[in-house]
Symmetry: C2
Subunit: 274 residues, 2 copies
C-alpha cells in the first residue's frame, strides 16, 4: 500500500527524477505495534540528505501525518519513505530548488529472515564489488544504489546473510544493507563513512549509547586483516536490529556478551523491534 | 508522450526498481526527420549495460518497433529510452534474472540551445564534484546520476554551457552530459573511461572515423594542466553534436579546423543532427 504525495496510489509520473536519475533519498523505518522506531533520527537523516542534494525537505509533521495514514499495526511492519526531486524535463539540471519533492510512502511486510539470526549469528562474505567515493553522497541514504545491487548479485547461497563491501583503498565500509561493528576488549569500533557508505540509524544509536554500557567507541578506516584479531563482530540496521557475525569467509567468531548487551539495550529503548 | 512496455502511459509502477535504486539504464537518441541516428550504436551500448547489470536486454526489433510507434518527425526530436529491472519487493537483491525489464520510451522536443554554439564555441567550467570510480559501472549509461546532478547544480550562469568533471586522481573524465576531446597537431585524444564516465555514442563514432580524416587517436588519463597546451578542445554528445570549446575557466581557445572537419564528417554521415 502506497501514498504518493498524500494520496493512495500505485504509480508515479513517468517524468519523476527519481526514476530518471535516482535523484532522491529514502528511509526504511521499523514499525512496532503502530509506532515508528527512531522516527526523529530517520527524519534528521532525511533532512540532512535534502540539504546535501538541494531538496526542500517536507515538514516533519507532514511526513509523520502521512506515515500515520497507513495501517501501521499491530505487530511488526516496515515503512519505506522515498523523497524525489519530483517531475522534471530531460537533462541533469534540477528545476527550481523550492519545488516540493515527491513523497512516496510504502507499507511493507516485515522481512522473513531466520528468527535465530539475532541469537546464533550469521555467516557473511566479502564482496568483490567496491564502493566508489564521493564525500557529498557519503553517509546519506540516496537512491543511487547500483553498487549495492551489484554486490548483492554476487551470491545466492541462502546461508550467507550479508556481504561486506570495501572501498578502493581496501578499507571495509559496510554491508550491502547494514553497518558493521567490531569489539576488542572493551573497545567498540566501526568504519568511518566520510567517503562512502550509509550512516545507519542504528549505527548512530549504538555509538551514542555504548559509553554508558562501558564501551570505548572509535570510528576509523580499517582493512580486513583487522577482522582476524577481534573478539566480536556484529551487523546492524533498522530491521535486522543486531546480528552477531559467526563467520566471515574462513574466519569464525562466537556471538559475544557485548553484542548481546547492546542488542538488549536497543530493544529496551525501543530502537529495534527484533 | 511516453510508451511503457509498449503502451501509451504517463506513469510507472511505484514498485519499479528504477525509482527505488536507479536500477536500470538509458539512452538519449537524436531523431532527424523520423530517423533515429546511430540506432545500432545506442542499442549496442544498452545491451552492454544490460550485460553488466544482469538485465535481460529486449530484442532490438522490439525496441525499434516501439520507438517507431512514437510520432518521430518531421525535423529534430529526441527519444529517451529507459530500461529498468522492473517491479520488485523491498531490498537490493534483484528478482530472477530472466524477468523482462520495464521499457520506457519518451518523445521529447529538441533542446533549446544556441544555434551558434556548434560554430562559435562554448565557455565551460571545471566542477568541484568528482566522479567516484567503479569499473563495473564505468562506460555504461546507468540511472545512478546524482554525481552529474550535483555537478550541474554548481552553476547557473546561462553563458556557461557545460562543466568538466574530474575523478579522485584529478584526471579529467568528461562533461556532465558530454565527452571531451583535445587536439594537438594531428593528435586527437580523449579521457580513458575505465573507472568512471559514460562512453558516449558520438565519442565512439569520432574515434572510429578520425584516422580516415588524418588524425592519430589516443585514449588515456590526463589532468587539467594538459588543457593549457592543446590547439583545439571540443565536446560531443548525441544531441549537441560537436561544440568547440572557446574557454575553460581562464584559458581561451579558437574553434579550430580539425573540430570543424570532424563535425562536418559526422553531419555528412548522419551521425549528428546539428
Amino acid at each position: 500500500m502506497f501514498l504518493v504525495n498524500g494520496r493512495y496510489a500505485d504509480s508515479i509520473s513517468v517524468l519523476d527524477r527519481g526514476l530518471h536519475y535516482g535523484d532522491g533519498l529514502f528511509e526504511t523505518i521499523a514499525i512496532l505495534n503502530g509506532k515508528p522506531l527512531c522516527w526523529e533520527e530517520h527524519y534528521q537523516r532525511l533532512a540532512q540528505g535534502c540539504d546535501r542534494l538541494g531538496l526542500c525537505c517536507p515538514p516533519v509533521d507532514q511526513l509523520y501525518a502521512e506515515l500515520r495514514q497507513l495501517p501501521l499495526g499491530p505487530g511488526r511492519n516496515v515503512i519505506k519513505m522515498i523523497l524525489t526531486r519530483g517531475q522534471g524535463g530531460r537533462g541533469y539540471q534540477p528545476p527550481a530548488a523550492d519545488l516540493p519533492p515527491t513523497r512516496i510512502l510504502g507499507l511493507y511486510p516485515w522481512p522473513e529472515t531466520s528468527p535465530e539470526y539475532p541469537v546464533t549469528g550469521v555467516k557473511i562474505r566479502i564482496c568483490a564489488t567496491r564502493l566508489g567515493g564521493n564525500t557529498q553522497l557519503a553517509g546519506i541514504k540516496h537512491l543511487n544504489r547500483l553498487e549495492q545491487i551489484l554486490a548483492r548479485r554476487e551470491w545466492s547461497e541462502p546461508d550467507i546473510a550479508e556481504g561486506l563491501m570495501l572501498d578502493h583503498q581496501d578499507a571495509i565500509v559496510e554491508g550491502t544493507m547494514s553497518n558493521l561493528f567490531c569489539i576488542t576488549g572493551s573497545d567498540l569500533f566501526t568504519p568511518e563513512l566520510s567517503d562512502c557508505g550509509v550512516a545507519g540509524i542504528i549505527r548512530g544509536c549504538i555509538l551514542r549509547l555504548a559509553p554508558a554500557l562501558g564501551l570505548k567507541t572509535r570510528i576509523f578506516k580499517f582493512g580486513r586483516t583487522v577482522l582476524a584479531a577481534v573478539d566480536e563482530v556484529f551487523l546492524c540496521n533498522s530491521l535486522i536490529g543486531i546480528w552477531p557475525v559467526r563467520q566471515i569467509e574462513e574466519q569464525g567468531y562466537q556471538p559475544g556478551p557485548w553484542t548481546k548487551k547492546i542488542r538488549q539495550e536497543l530493544i529496551r529503548r525501543e530502537m529495534i523491534a527484533t
